[in-house]
């Protein structure tokens, strides 16, 4: 089963994947807004931290989305 960090990576990738129909930029904007609106402060901090540490496992959309946070 996934660790807490793996779960966050899975969640952000999942949001991006489910909204990729409109292209990477638009999907990243949607994903970023979704995280902003629904994720707790600590989860946002953790995923930003993960990106800052190299962002292993994050999709292209996820990386672009997290950069917008």
């Amino acid at each position: 089963m996934r660790s807490a960090q793996q779960q966050l990576i899975h969640m952000v990738n999942q949001i991006g994947e489910n909204n990729q129909h409109s292209g990477v930029e638009s999907a990243a904007a949607f994903t970023s807004t979704h995280i902003q609106k629904f994720w707790a402060r600590s989860m946002k901090q953790d995923i930003i931290q993960h990106l800052n540490n190299g962002g292993q496992g994050l999709s292209e959309i996820s990386i672009a989305a997290i950069k917008k946070l």
């Binding site: 996934r2 807490a4 999942q14 949001i15 409109s22 609106k37 707790a40 600590s42």
Partner: protein
């Protein structure tokens, strides 16, 4: 004078709705009623009460007893008032010497084959036969009992809740007709002819062995003591009653709690209840014994560690202990290290208070609700597309539907009273489309007209809804006028281009869904063209990794066909628990304050901060699964859980248990030592729905009153417990009665601004929005426009779940419910409903069983990537090969030991409905089950205050 509707009065035949009024004369009174009304009902409306036995206003007229005979000017003989419709200028006489003699003769014949034991009969004082004997002035029975009779007919006591005493039966057929017309089960019949006629369950079976579902409709309809609640037989007639709302499923049936003092004798479905209109199911009608079960927690308890015995303390000591723990945790780990979970079983007022406590006394937004694991995708999906997180119709709207589409729901089991209403409409000719991997009972509705079963593979809902929409979009089946007037054009054009792509066609999606294209095309045409198309859906839609996408796909379908904004249509989520809608409405989610107002909006926070006199964190809090992850990370240490059993109901049990074990303070408020409470440090006794005042909001947005019929067993109602805890935490709230909490909700929630207890008393119930624009509430949503202005088509790309069958895990497990049990079973397992479902079983298709050498009743080990458990096998053809199915009503079954951490992309609603598993014959329980049994034994000892040896959990 015309009488207004009085639910307690039986008007003899059902109401008729007609714009044409007919005026007639009854006993010299000029009376006007709708065309089609029976003479019996017309008279009763004017308080002219014609004697009757076989007639009752919940059933169509039958005309068998002849007691309601009347004389009508210009007509021969003595027609039955129940089967005779009124006509213009008709002159009716209901009482004269001839009629009186005739009625006495009829009654005399009835009584000549009926025991004369009124004084010792359980129906004494509540018997229509007795009443009618009095009404017609019966003074003697000339025939004696020497001839043939039925006085020695046996009693069938097989049902745990009611008995059938055939010696008291007058064969009026009311029970048979109730089973057919009201319940729709057709379990009863009249067997034999003439004098040998008798009521029979099934084919001369006992009730318990027949198709009877114990809804109680027959008991309710019986005019004698033939069908009688055992509680009345044992305890006597109730002496007062209070109308309240059932605390089981999201139908929200109104019941009369019929009482002797503070003891419930029976729960009788309330005819004036708009959700159920006098009908009930086996749970609401009979399974209320848990309220006084010996397992109830009667005093607050505390302990420092979960291996210690519980210690009974005063309420104040419990509050102080809990508050000190929470404050200590926050001091050590930070403000955000604690949170709470509200309950979909508690009242709106209680739920509101718990989220208020968390946002004020805890000072964060770490509040969530058990709706997270059932209908959170409904909130997201419907708000995105239609602008409001709620179903669009009344239940009664289904009576206008021409095509009923049921997706991922099993109404006859999970929402039985609405299932019966649905069946009634299906018998009247509406068509049925079922989208479900399993063959549900609705498909076996007697006298069903047309049904299409789209038996898809688990996890492929979105591909299927896209295929249905593809047919509608490409076959000129769109409602272009509706779309042009009511929908956002850009979103529609984008959606049209997407959905028209051939990859969404039934032919191309067949490889995903497994559903034949011609069936999909037939279903799409049926839904789009038959007239009123209504969609009802359940957790088979939401509990997927694309739950939110599927909800949006459903809304797309309704928008595309104009099936919104009037009776008979709509998008209708069937909520699992009694107050799922209400718990969502009351601000339980971590990102929303009451009324779905986002915490990130300054003006929203300003309003609440002014009322609550605290600063509200602008950031959303943790959702339930995020709380578990944070707990295992060591950043989340304290949790307050009201009326929710996350240790049993949430997925991946071992993960949940580890998270709960890591908490330094778990406060559980519940009526029993549930599975979660076994990990708790503070146990606060909960109150059942019978012990408190408040409101529930059902699946049709109907706010219903819950009324206290007995005092709380432990002295405090749940709302009072939250007040005590909040005060100990340093945030004091002042309410003398739940009505004052509702006043505050109305003040802060735009969709509730017109709601008050006074208005609820006046109207009986209110469907929100209830405000200045809709002072009497809103039965049908989106009639003129949507809360977001225009309807918003959403792109619903199918993304397969990562949970797929493999060579190692070749089967897909899906889960569901059964009629007699409710949710985690904490209530129904403590009633005689155990008669019908004493354990969860694994349904396996004969093909899969044959491959594995499995027979009915074998122990089966079920392994997923999350864990394994053991259940008994039940061979069943309800699913296709490759699919297995179980329920989750018993904690020891470990159904959620095998469900995974997959969840909906938008809301984290767990994907309970798709788990890849392998199944094999085994000879003993799983390791988890053995540990569960040990842990349970230990915690039961600790509950008694006894020290035990340590057992790992």
């Amino acid at each position: 004078m015309l009488e207004y509707f009085d639910p307690s009065k039986d008007l003899g035949t059902p109401a008729i709705f007609s714009a044409t009024s007919i005026t007639l004369d009854i006993d010299g009174n000029s009376i006007s009623v709708p065309e089609g009304t029976s003479v019996l009902r017309a008279a009763a409306l004017y308080n002219i009460n014609i004697p009757k036995l076989c007639a009752t206003d919940s059933l169509e007229p039958f005309g068998s007893c002849r007691l309601c005979a009347v004389q009508i000017e210009g007509r021969r003989g003595y027609p039955a008032a129940c089967t005779t419709p009124v006509s213009e200028g008709m002159q009716v006489v209901t009482q004269n010497t001839k009629l009186a003699k005739l009625r006495r003769n009829v009654m005399e014949l009835y009584i000549s084959d009926h025991p004369l034991d009124c004084l010792t009969c359980p129906a004494n004082g509540d018997c229509e036969l007795q009443d009618m004997a009095g009404a017609v002035g019966l003074r003697e029975v000339r025939y004696g009992f020497n001839g043939s009779n039925h006085l020695d007919a046996p009693t069938d006591d097989s049902n745990p809740y009611f008995s059938f005493d055939a010696s008291k039966c007058i064969v009026c057929s009311r029970c048979v007709r109730a089973c057919e017309e009201v319940q729709g089960t057709f379990a009863l019949t009249i067997d034999g002819r003439g004098f040998d006629s008798k009521v029979s369950a099934g084919v001369n079976q006992d009730f318990i062995d027949s198709d009877c579902v114990s809804c109680g409709a027959c008991v309710q309809a019986c005019p004698t003591s033939t069908l009688m609640e055992k509680s009345v037989i044992e305890q006597g007639q109730p002496e007062h009653s209070i109308v309240t709302t059932c605390a089981y499923c999201g139908v929200g049936c109104s019941f009369e709690a019929q009482m002797q003092g503070d003891q419930v004798i029976r729960m009788v479905p309330y005819k004036g209840g708009e959700a159920n209109q006098g009908h009930s199911c086996v749970k609401g009608r009979f399974a209320f014994g848990y309220a006084t079960h010996k397992d109830r927690i009667k005093a607050p308890m505390i302990r420092d560690h979960i291996d210690q015995p519980w210690r009974e303390v005063s309420w104040d000591e419990a509050f102080s202990f809990a508050a000190a723990k929470i404050k200590g945790i926050q001091k050590k780990y930070g403000r955000e290290s604690v949170g709470g979970i509200t309950s979909s079983r508690c009242t709106n007022e209680e739920t509101y208070l718990v989220q208020k406590l968390i946002r004020t006394a805890f000072g964060n937004n770490n509040t969530d609700t058990c709706a997270r694991v059932c209908h959170s995708p409904t909130g997201f999906g419907l708000k995105t597309t239609l602008g409001e997180s709620a179903g669009t119709q009344t239940f009664d709207s289904v009576r206008e539907a021409d095509c009923i589409m049921v997706i991922g729901a099993n109404p006859t089991d999970a929402h039985p009273v609405f299932g019966s209403l649905m069946r009634r409409r299906l018998r009247e000719g509406a068509s049925l489309i079922v989208v479900d991997p399993r063959d549900i009972d609705l498909l076996a509705t007697p006298h069903l007209n047309q049904a299409i079963h789209l038996q898809l593979r688990p996890g492929t809902n979105v591909a299927l809804i896209n295929a249905l929409a593809h047919v509608i979009a490409t076959q000129e089946l769109l409602d272009k006028d509706f779309i042009a007037k009511r929908c956002a054009s850009d979103a529609f054009e984008q959606w049209l281009a997407f959905i028209s792509e051939s990859r969404n066609s039934p032919e191309e999606t067949e490889a995903i869904t497994g559903v034949a294209p011609d069936k999909v095309r037939s279903a799409a045409r049926l839904y789009a063209t038959v007239g009123n198309g209504a969609i009802f859906y359940g957790l088979g839609v939401t509990e997927h990794s694309q739950g939110s996408t599927m909800v949006m796909g459903i809304a797309n379908l309704a928008l595309a066909t104009g099936n919104l904004g009037r009776l008979g249509v709509g998008v209708n989520p069937l909520r699992g628990q009694n107050n799922v809608q209400g718990s969502c409405d009351m601000g339980s989610f971590p990102h929303e304050l009451p009324g779905y107002q986002h915490v990130g909006e300054q003006q929203v926070r300003d309003k609440f901060e002014a009322a609550w006199k605290v600063k509200i964190d602008p950031e959303p809090g943790l959702r339930i699964p995020n709380m578990f992850d944070a707990a295992l990370n060591g950043t989340f240490k304290g949790l307050y859980v009201q009326g929710e059993d996350i240790a049993q109901s949430d997925p991946n049990t071992q993960h949940v248990e580890k998270a709960l074990c890591s908490l330094e303070c778990l406060i559980v408020q519940d009526i029993f030592l549930n599975e979660t409470a076994k990990f708790a440090h503070v146990l606060l006794p909960g109150a059942t729905f019978l012990e408190k005042d408040g409101t529930f909001t059902n699946a049709e947005r109907r706010i219903n009153r819950v009324r206290k019929v007995m005092p709380p067993l432990a002295g405090l109602a749940d709302w009072e417990v939250t007040l005590g805890l909040s005060k100990a935490l340093g945030y004091e709230m002042h309410y003398d009665h739940p009505s004052e909490i509702m006043d505050e909700i109305a003040q802060l929630t735009p969709t509730f601004s017109g709601v008050s207890y006074q208005k609820l008393e006046e109207l009986g119930s209110i469907q929100w929005p209830c405000n200045e624009q809709h002072p009497l509430g809103t039965p049908t949503m989106h009639v003129e426009d949507f809360p977001i202005g225009k309807g918003n088509f959403a792109i619903t790309e199918f993304i397969p779940t990562q949970e797929r069958s493999t060579r190692r895990l070749p089967l897909l497990l899906t889960t569901g419910r059964i009629l007699s049990q409710y949710n985690v079973g904490a209530q129904t397992r403590r009633t005689q409903n155990m008669t019908w479902h004493s354990e969860d079983v694994l349904e396996v298709h004969p093909h899969d069983a044959l491959e594995r050498g499995i027979n009915d009743g074998d122990w089966l080990g079920i392994t997923s990537r999350a864990g394994n458990t053991v259940l008994r096998a039940k061979i069943s053809e309800r699913m296709q090969p490759g699919i297995v199915y179980t329920t989750f009503h018993h904690p020891g079954s470990g159904a959620n030991v095998i469900t995974t951490d997959n969840s909906d992309w938008a809301t984290n609603c767990p994907e309970y409905k798709v788990t890849a598993v392998q199944v094999e014959k085994v000879s003993q329980p799983s390791r988890w089950q053995k540990a569960f049994q040990d842990s349970d034994k230990k915690q039961q000892q600790l509950l008694k205050g006894k020290q035990t040896t340590s057992v790992d959990v």
